[in-house]
Subunit: 411 residues, 2 copies
């Protein structure tokens, strides 16, 4: 079934917000055998009518996001009803849901609010558990006089749209896609190996499997390998990928590298401490984004200044003087220092030149050392070179640092 | 001039990557009097020909991203040339640029690489300083037999597209938009004030100015107020906005709250240290994303465990026992502790329940205390309640914490 997503919102076209709906919806609908064939972003206002007229000849399912709220530029509901030549009828259940939600929050009710209780005749209401504007489902050819696909009108804020999609859109999709063939999909996540090297290892072998679709997606410090096809074809491809890439694969589910690390440490009853210089807290932030991190994460120090490295981590003045703060010696001492000081099983340290300034001929912007210290094991240190903007630099260093420990845990 | 962005790439439609091109291009073209009237994402392959045929009747400028690389699914160049009925001709300058770039990196050259040196007859080459595939500019009606807008073919990776846009697309736009009226735009960024409160303060007054366009964009802990119109109208609106919101506005340029804070501290010759519990390094990460942060940022400790809070920050056991780790008392002691320990001018501390578990009836998930300690000033502590996912929680706390210090610096 041909599927299209239409995002309304002048703020998207002005570049004020990133459109995250597309990625969310794409992932959610795959299980129903659906893919997005096209996506469009259009301004608030009557562009939605033109777009609907335009796509109704070929699209079978259309998701429209945005424009359902109470303010004057929220007119998706009215325009879609107009396009379909359906009258708007006030729905008493929606009206009551809005009233009680606003009363509980002591928000004064203005006249405009009630527009959100209007429903095109024959539409199904998709309850909004995180806001006032409900979503709407209008079945295909709801008005036989007007060509129209299955039409879902969804609220703009992701925190309203996402639970609504999972709780109320999914059951409708389940119903209308019952006849479709469902492909299997697997995504393998690989840290710190280039796309071209991965392609050389597995590309030809996987391509040779009939009916398999193979894709790569490169992110900073990570490549995702995606295979789509029948369950048998995917199983065959998985066997090859696992054989060729073995423990370079850190996840075959959607787990981030930080989450994998937390899980491995947790399973082994081990703990982690961090000493960050150039990554400035990014590693700690990634680790603490994982629910349950507090069980394994003891402490993280961001020691930007030399004094802090010396006083708090016990790095020796001599090492800093002789080798510089950005050096193998200092990275190793930082990792040892944080581990011993906090009593953690493992200590990871980063020191480098994030830029844009601070580089030298010897240690240009992008130079970084990652130290790893573990109980009863020799310390390790690796040197990398990532000349890029500060945020990408931090991401690249984090992937290297986490993978260094992950591999040690799997030894 | 009607402008459209077409993003090619199956990975966008599968939800594997977020489309950041739209926001980037939208911001870059505004200065030329252009806005994006529509954006479409389409799969790799011949969908680009259908889309071009479809939009050529009304669009005057079209930006196409993606599909210019060397792999088998990169066929934008060939399909666009096909649509325009233009022959592809190898460009010797592009060929040489590719050869020398790959030689310098010792990357072996395969046959497919040379496809990137093919140029539709009459197209202008937009050099790629960060990759092999050049961009292409095809002026409107380049082949009089085929209706076509001004057409820019741009590479998919943002780190290639963005500098190419600024250095080589902008001059072309400057030329072809010379006749257009250019609106002025200003964006005011406001922390920790709800959209509806801002609207009540300025909405009617700004709307009353003839020819002004007013928009709001809400993000976690922040609302951007955007005004567009003639220079005079924008100046008039700015006067009202500054009068009504005064120092709730933290930026009228594109500066983030963290960047404003770094600038204010730097101007005052002051320094900052952080003690984070529930925010887990996010504040330090935000601060160190700002180039030059090392001048004012002394150190950040992520003290997740009670022992760390006691040992490293000097929080008293009694306070933790009597009030709990999530309390005004502990937040204040953490802020004082980090400031005194590091000798910084200001110390900020966070302690709270990020969730999803760890809440109690007394302190439910989302409860957080932010402490602020400054040299020669009484310590402050504020309590907030942000029940949301971990990442949003961290963002909301960061905005509150940074704004607390910003306001102190402006007193």
């Amino acid at each position: 079934m041909k599927t299209i997503v239409i995002n309304t919102g002048t703020e998207i076209l002005l570049g004020d917000v990133l459109n995250t709906h597309l990625a969310f919806i794409a992932r959610e609908i795959f299980q129903f055998g659906l893919r997005i064939d096209e996506q469009r972003a259009i301004p608030d206002g009557d562009a939605i009518q033109t777009a609907l007229a335009d796509v109704s000849s070929w699209a079978e399912i259309v998701f429209v996001t945005g424009g359902l709220g109470p303010t004057s530029d929220d007119i998706t509901r009215e325009l879609v009803a107009g396009y379909l030549q359906l009258p708007l009828v006030e729905n008493p259940i929606v009206r009551e849901a809005i009233r009680s939600r606003l009363a509980a929050r002591r928000i004064p009710i203005t006249k405009r609010i009630w527009r959100q209780a209007l429903v095109p005749a024959g539409a199904e209401v998709l309850p909004n558990e995180n806001g006032t504007a409900p979503g709407l489902y209008l079945r295909t050819k709801i008005n036989p006089a007007v060509p129209s696909p299955h039409l879902f009108l969804l609220p703009g804020p992701p925190r309203e749209l996402q639970p609504m999609f999972r709780n109320f859109v999914a059951p409708v999709l389940h119903r209308i896609t019952a006849e479709l063939k469902k492909d299997a999909m697997r995504i393998f996540r690989i840290a710190n190996m280039g796309e071209s090297i991965i392609e050389r290892k597995i590309g030809d072998l996987v391509f040779a499997i009939p009916g398999i679709e193979l894709g790569y997606c490169a992110r900073p410090g990570e490549v995702d390998v995606r295979i789509i096809g029948s369950a048998e074809a995917v199983a065959q491809a998985e066997k090859i990928i696992r054989e060729k890439l073995s423990n370079a694969i850190f996840s075959a589910s959607d787990e981030s590298l930080a989450a994998v690390l937390i899980r491995l440490l947790s399973e082994g009853g081990q703990t982690l401490a961090l000493a960050e210089s150039c990554t400035g807290g990014f590693l700690a932030d990634q680790i603490t984004n994982v629910p349950g991190a507090s069980k394994v994460f003891v402490a993280g120090y961001v020691t930007y200044s030399n004094e802090e490295k010396i006083r708090t981590l016990g790095v020796s003045c001599e090492s800093i003087e002789k080798f510089g703060a950005v050096s193998e010696q200092v990275a190793t001492e930082m990792a040892e220092g944080i581990r011993i000081r906090t009593g953690a099983t493992h200590g990871i340290a980063t020191t480098g030149v994030a830029g844009p300034s601070g580089g030298s001929a010897d240690k240009p912007v992008g130079t970084v050392f990652v130290g790893l210290s573990s109980e009863n094991q020799p310390a390790r240190c690796e040197k990398f070179f990532f000349p890029s903007d500060r945020e990408t630099f931090k991401q690249l260093v984090a992937q290297r640092a986490f993978d260094l420990l992950r591999k040690r845990l799997m030894e």
